[in-house]
Amino acid sequence: MAKSMHEPLRKASGNRLTAMMQVRNETGRYLEQVLEELSEFVDDIVIVDDGSTDGTVRLCNSFAKVSKLVTLEHSIFGREWELRKTLWDLAVSTGPDWLLSVDADEFYEDRAKQEMRRLIDQDAYDWVAFRLFDFWGGTTHYREDEHWNIHMKHTRTLVRYLPGFYYYTPRMDHHVPRLALSYAVLPGFLAELRVKHYGWALEPEELRRKYDRYMELDPEGKWGSLEQYRSILDEHPRLVEWRE
């Protein structure tokens, strides 16, 4: 749905929020809980399934707010740029006002969910960044050390969709930014609101499997830091208790 040229590009009220996520073999993990929580505060959910072989697609379809779901026959995770682009194209095809990029293991804290409408119903800035916390070994503590400190800075996950804007995402195979780099030139808001990332809230043997997968995909550290990959196996990481 194209925006009318009679209307201003940015609306200060009545904005529609679409969540976008890519998933793969998520049954038995956090997807169901993520979709439940997203259904509380977004208007639509758009999903690309990257070749799941379990019941992920069925689970997604059981949520009324999942308005678009594309299933890829074979995973293109090894060409992450392409996967991100597929998701972006699908999301903008719904004519959204704002897009929230969510991973299948990310949870917005309650305060963030409550503030979400106020964050998007304004015309002063075009993106919002949050503080992401990497939970480690469980859902009570996050990790904070030299290699694991993403919460020290802000991560842009909520953006206004601007038709005709030049969206640029580097064509990389791995560690592709979740949203176009172009947003960096637009004014944004750094929110002191938190997002819980449970991607590393795993038992030691699962962490080892994840480490092996990273090393298999990027053995020379071309797309990320080898030191950070190795730190996944730290026996005594520095953990900080999460407080609501």
Partner: protein, 449 residues
Amino acid sequence: MNYIVLSRVSWEDYEYKRMLELLPDRGEVCFAGRMTPARQRSSGIRSVTLAELYSLNAKEYTLLVSSPYWLPDVLALQPAYTVALLELCPEGEDSVLWDKYSALLAAKADLAGTTSERIYLEQNLRRKGIVYLSGDQPLSYGLLRREEQLFFLSDYEAIWNRALTELWQPPVVSGEEAGWLDIQRRHRTAFYISMCAKMPLQPSVHYLAASYLYLRGDEAASLYLAQSFELMLLHDYTDCLHSHYRFFSAIEAKKGNLEHAVRQYEITAFTAGERAKAAQMRQWLSGGEAEHELLRAEIFTVNEDGAAANEILSRLSGPEARQRLLLNYIGTFQWEKALQLYEEMEADGTAAAENTGLGGFAGIAGIAGAPEIPGLAGGTAPAFEDAVQLPVIEGTLHLLYGRRHDAIRSFLRSAGADQGARQLFAEMADMEEAVQGLRGRVMDGEEHA
């Protein structure tokens, strides 16, 4: 053609000596300033004093002026043609004063040349008659014989020669043959496109390629601008929304994609003034052909392409177009045209404060001591927010034409009783001092009034 050289420096330091050798149809050449008899003989150039300068029949001469502080003399002499050699502000000069009067000199000149690519691009966005007096082509682009001497011309020298000749021998208009302006733009485009291949990660090189392609009306400009924008992002130079991104709107307007052009502008519009402009643009977009032309002109104006905007606005009739043309004349330092247009508008009643939204004033950046104009924001707000009053423009022109009392009266009228007048008088004194300083330097001890 006879020539008079009005230099910024003494003959010994004059930077354009070779250019004087290459002057087309070279008759008598006079240098305003001291030269030894030996140098006069070897160069074939006559040294003249200020008094002698004013005894010449200037209508038979072309002036080659390389300091803006010669402007009062340029206006007094009324030569056949004025050629401005524009330079970046030299060390020791007041840059505000230098830049302002250089811009006025450039606007007054029939032709301008510069060795600064920054000035060249700026002037390309204000006028047509501008030559870049430098280049990167190793080949010779022609020969020139003067008496016993043979000169091999570089690309820009050949262009300069042609541009000068065409001042008094205008070409027969032909649809096929490219003009010298476009030939030089083509050279600069080819140079920067080749540089992009050699420096694929350099955003400014891609931006310059886009700029030249835009000036030539080549749609590939958007591709190079996009590459430049991507490289800016990869280098984390994110403060480029206005400097780089807004340029997309001008390129789209040139292509005729007005809807896309408005969108691109609106993406960059955040202040109240910018949003009002975007709203006005959307309104024009839903109008007819005349509104679309106003829209195109506005997009060019907000991208500092005064030349393209003026070309459109001067073809349009109607009070809206004339008000905007007035502002663009001021913005491109064509102040005499601005005053003339304002008088016409006054005569037909379209210059009233409520029509212009300017309270009888017009706006332009860059004049010291200019009081702010009330009521510039809003739906019909013109493009130049940092404003100066028309009486200041009038006063400046009086000053340059040697009408000192009229200038003082205009400045007093513009400033009222507040401190604005003091700043205007200070600028006036600075200008007069700069003119006297220049004369003293160039004439090297010659007595001057």
